[in-house]
């Protein structure tokens, strides 16, 4: 990912452990008291100087959350989470939000350097005053919003984007500066009471990214958010809202890491996308949260709700995800295809090694006519990992000529892991066509031997074959992300063969 390009090399020297992002940054933090109650919700809202309507919105979410239970249908196992034993607000101590990069805590900037995010470099290139930037080394410029624990710390390339009328900022800032947009769209795709984790997020979200692309504008660069959980015992609850107005076009990247810790940390994000007529949103994720150690200790619980609404005719939302990290992944980036001729896509690679568990997939709701969706899912299980594809294709009676094609392939490495496929197909439209294919296989012995005969080590051979297995998904990623993702796949599988 641009946010992390070159990360591997940069970080390998930092830690010798298998997880390359496992360092912690010592920064003076500002915490809310542990636990969760209405006062904490009020505290967060007050801390962020929010308007009354948003506090009410949060309180409603909290009230709903209290009546809900954790979902238990996913094929994942974990001990009960004590929601009172976590901090719901942790921010780098600052009197005010940073006005420019110079105000950002230098320790924090060093963290991002370790991660390979060329924040500073980009800011300079962009010119803090926003003049005369040129992309470094011929690379596409990438605007980055970095979220550290709960708070957005820096957003780059803002000035250049503003010229195009594009809003790219932290959601807190959007609440202050563009309340009408936030109020109109927040919760319109994922309502507060949508599910347990979404309700929790709605009550306590602290930051996240906000993007608005105005009518007819094609965003001139990739937008990227970089998430990192740093503080102990914190949950991260970011909230991302992206709106592509009529005819707009945007590609958005998201990357994540966290330090190594023995405890499990909760990450319950919500992402909402809205695409109006003829708009396109491409949302790519490379998720590399700390997966826990080889004995299954520690790691992030990645329980996120991502959903996009293709509200307009001919709109398109495309999700691409490479899920290599987290102890448990529970996420189903979905598309509500309301507009006629709208298109939903889901491309996914999920790797579970050691004791990782993933239950991931998508939901495609075909509501408008001639709506089309494509689902390509590649699951790779190694070690004791459990990998489940769970998906729903639902076609309403009015979605005439709707089309869906789904392909789910699973690859097993070793005999102690599991691969599961649970697709639901619900069709109420005669003229719809739905196709689903799934296969399960392992790396064939003759493929490994062939590669080794040509001089590749067993691990490199596995990496090559796995990358080949995932090619259909990886090619959907923006170029720089794809290189990073390929390396990550190989690193994630270390120790799974031999």
């Amino acid at each position: 990912m641009p946010a992390v390009t070159e990360t591997i090399d940069a970080v390998q020297s930092v830690t010798h452990s298998t997880y390359k992002y496992g360092f912690e940054t010592e920064i003076d933090m500002d915490f809310a008291p542990k636990g969760l109650n209405e006062d904490i919700v009020r505290f967060i809202s007050a801390k962020k100087g929010e308007p009354a309507w948003l506090l009410e919105w949060r309180l409603k979410a909290f009230a709903l959350w209290k009546t809900m239970a954790e979902p238990r249908w996913a094929a994942v196992k974990f001990p009960p989470i004590d929601y009172q034993d976590a901090y719901y607000y942790a921010a780098p101590k600052k009197k005010d939000g940073p006005k420019s990069l110079d105000e950002v805590d230098p320790e924090l900037l060093r963290t991002y350097e370790k991660l390979g995010i060329p924040l500073k470099e980009q800011a300079i290139l962009a010119g803090v005053e926003g003049a005369g930037e040129s992309p470094a080394e011929g690379r596409m410029p990438v605007a980055v919003d970095a979220v550290f624990d709960s708070v957005s710390v820096a957003t780059t390339f803002k000035d250049r984007l503003e010229k195009e009328g594009i809003i790219f900022c932290s959601i807190s800032e959007a609440v202050r500066n563009h309340p009408e947009l936030v109020r109109q769209y927040l919760g319109s795709v994922v309502p507060q009471g949508d599910n347990f984790y979404a309700a929790l997020n709605s009550a306590v979200f602290t930051d996240g990214s906000f993007v608005y692309i105005p009518k007819g504008v094609r965003c001139p660069m990739e937008l990227s958010t970089y998430f990192r959980i740093n503080a102990k015992s914190t949950g991260q609850f970011e909230r991302t809202l992206i709106i592509a107005d009529t005819g707009a076009h945007v590609s958005y990247l998201e990357g994540c890491t966290a330090p190594m810790r023995d405890e499990n940390q909760l990450h319950a994000a919500v992402v909402e996308l809205v695409a109006l007529d003829d708009a396109t949103i491409k949302y790519s994720t490379v998720q590399n949260w700390y997966p826990g150690d080889e004995n299954g200790k520690g790691g992030i619980y990645n329980f996120v709700t991502k959903r996009g609404a293709c509200r307009g005719a001919r709109s398109k939302i495309s999700w691409t995800q490479v899920e290599t990290g987290s102890a448990i992944t529970w996420k189903y980036p979905s598309c509500i295809l309301q507009g006629d001729d709208s298109v939903g896509e889901f491309y996914s690679v999920a790797i579970t090694n050691n004791w990782q568990q993933a239950d991931t997939g998508t939901k495609m709701f075909h509501i408008g006519r001639n709506t089309r969706s494509t689902i390509i899912s590649k699951g790779i299980s190694a070690g004791q990992g459990q990998n489940t594809y769970r998906g729903l294709v639902k076609i309403s009676p009015k979605a005439s000529n709707a089309r869906n094609f789904t392909q789910c392939d699973s690859l097993l490495i070793g005999d102690k892991c599991g691969a599961h496929t649970v697709p639901y197909i619900e069709n109420r439209c005669m003229t719809a066509k739905v196709e689903h294919e799934a296969t399960t296989s392992r790396i064939a012995e003759d493929q490994l031997f062939y590669c080794r005969q040509r001089g590749l080590s067993e691990e490199d051979a596995v990496g090559l074959i796995v990358n080949g297995f995932c090619r259909e998904v990886l090619k959907e990623l923006p170029m720089e992300f794809a290189v990073e993702a390929q390396k990550l796949l190989q690193i994630s599988l270390e120790g799974s063969v031999g």
């Binding site: 599961h420 109420r428 005669m430 799934a438």
Partner: protein, 435 residues
């Protein structure tokens, strides 16, 4: 029809709706169930009744029942089939040279071929101890619990090693002139290398409401081969809820085909375990659903030994306001290396009021496996219809031919000719009838 036999009308009142009504029936009949003198059986019935009491009828909140609502069953009252009917019955033409007949859950010796290798369970319960409930779980399957508590009769087929049972039709007729609830229990055991072709036919006479809820258990020993063709042709108001269990030992084959053609509400579950190396299972099926019908084909196939192949092709054709459900799970245990599993389900929607819900599922814990599944949903190809019509074939015939062609792949899997002919007959002309 004339009912001249041993007529008993007393107590033929309907129970209250829901599980409570069935439990009332159980209490009322407990002392009179066949085999109640056998302590193991009485205890088993009692435990099953308890399991049913604890679970009740499944609701749609239960994942396995997400798509099938039992309201037509739980919101109505049912009665005991106390009237035994004698004399001539309007039976369907025999599908096999040897036929045994059950009416309203009870064996009818007068209509059955004495040469068939079948005994009636009610009179031979002593021989069923090791078989009854050896596969059928009650703790999480309330309908099986209910059947175990309340069955009165059924077929007992116990073939010795190497025995060839030939082709047998097992016909169950329900007379839908009263809302009866019957729970037949059929037990089949094949010794090593034995063979059997069983055409199980559930046939309804009349249009009224009734429940037929059979449970079948198949023990298939090493190298034995059973073909199980199941023709569900219940009456229009019938509710058919059946559950089949099969365990297949090394080198054995359970080859089944399910046809859902009748009933207002039908669900057939199959739980098949491939327990020995190189055991094989075919779980093919077809559902032909017209206006007002609901058909649910649910299968659970466990590969618990290495080198086992399994094949499943299920086709659903939906017309009018109908709903079809396919749920198929393949579980591959860690030990089941070199599993070769294939599952395909396809649906054809002929109406804009029909709905298909499909949930094929793979759960795999072994790494050296070849498993695939596929699902497609679509409509008839209008180009093909037009092409046939342009060659002079009437539209209804053209559609009918295309539907039969669609079903062909599933029916082809049935290797026994008698069974295949029975299926072909049941399928033929379906479209002309519903259109």
């Amino acid at each position: 029809m004339s009912a001249t036999g041993d007529i008993v009308t007393a107590g033929n009142a309907l129970t209250e709706p829901g599980a409570a009504g069935f439990l009332q029936r159980y209490e009322g009949l407990r002392a009179r169930f066949p085999g109640q003198r056998l302590p193991w059986l009485a205890a088993r019935r009692e435990a099953a009744a308890e399991a049913f009491r604890a679970q009740g009828f499944p609701t749609r909140r239960v994942e396995a029942w997400k798509y099938t609502d039992l309201a037509p069953l739980t919101q109505a009252g049912f009665g005991e089939a106390l009237t035994s009917v004698d004399g001539a019955l309007p039976l369907p033409r025999a599908a096999a040279p040897r036929r045994v007949v059950f009416v309203d859950g009870r064996f009818r010796a007068d209509l059955s071929d004495p040469e068939a290798p079948v005994r009636n369970l009610a009179d031979h319960l002593g021989a069923a101890e090791g078989l009854l409930g050896s596969l059928a779980r009650t703790e999480d399957l309330p309908l099986v619990a209910l059947n175990t508590a309340m069955f009165e009769d059924g077929a007992l087929i116990d073939l010795a090693a190497g025995e060839d049972g030939g082709v047998v039709e097992l016909l169950h007729v329900t007379l839908a002139d009263r809302p009866v609830a019957v729970h037949p229990r059929h037990l089949v055991r094949l010794g090593a290398g034995a063979k059997l072709v069983l055409i199980e036919r559930n046939w309804g006479h009349g249009e009224g409401r009734y429940l037929n809820s059979p449970v079948l258990e198949f023990e298939v020993a090493a190298e034995a081969h059973v073909t199980h063709a199941r023709l569900q042709q219940e009456g229009k108001g019938g509710i058919h809820l059946s559950t089949v269990f099969a365990r297949v030992a090394e080198g054995g084959t359970y080859d089944s085909f399910l046809l859902h053609a009748g009933a207002k509400l039908a669900r057939s579950e199959a739980h098949v375990t491939l327990a020995g190396p190189k055991a094989a299972a075919h779980l093919n099926g077809a559902q032909l659903l017209g206006d007002g019908q609901h058909g649910d084909c649910t299968t659970f196939l466990e590969h618990s030994a290495p080198d086992c192949p399994s094949r499943q092709t299920v086709k659903t054709v939906l017309a009018g306001k109908s709903r079809g459900v396919f749920q198929g799970k393949i579980l591959v245990d860690q030990i089941a290396q070199r599993t070769d599993g294939y599952q395909m389900n396809q649906a054809l929607l002929l109406s804009d009021q029909a709905e298909i819900d499909s949930k094929p599922q793979l759960e795999i814990y072994a790494d050296d496996v070849k498993c695939s599944h596929g699902a497609t949903v679509g409509e008839l190809d209008e180009n093909q219809v037009f092409y046939m019509r342009s060659r002079g074939i009437p539209e209804a015939t053209a559609r009918s031919l295309l539907i039969e062609a669609f079903l062909q792949e599933a029916v082809e899997g049935v290797t026994d000719e008698t069974a295949r002919a029975a299926l072909a007959e049941a399928v033929a002309g379906w479209w002309e009838k519903v259109a």
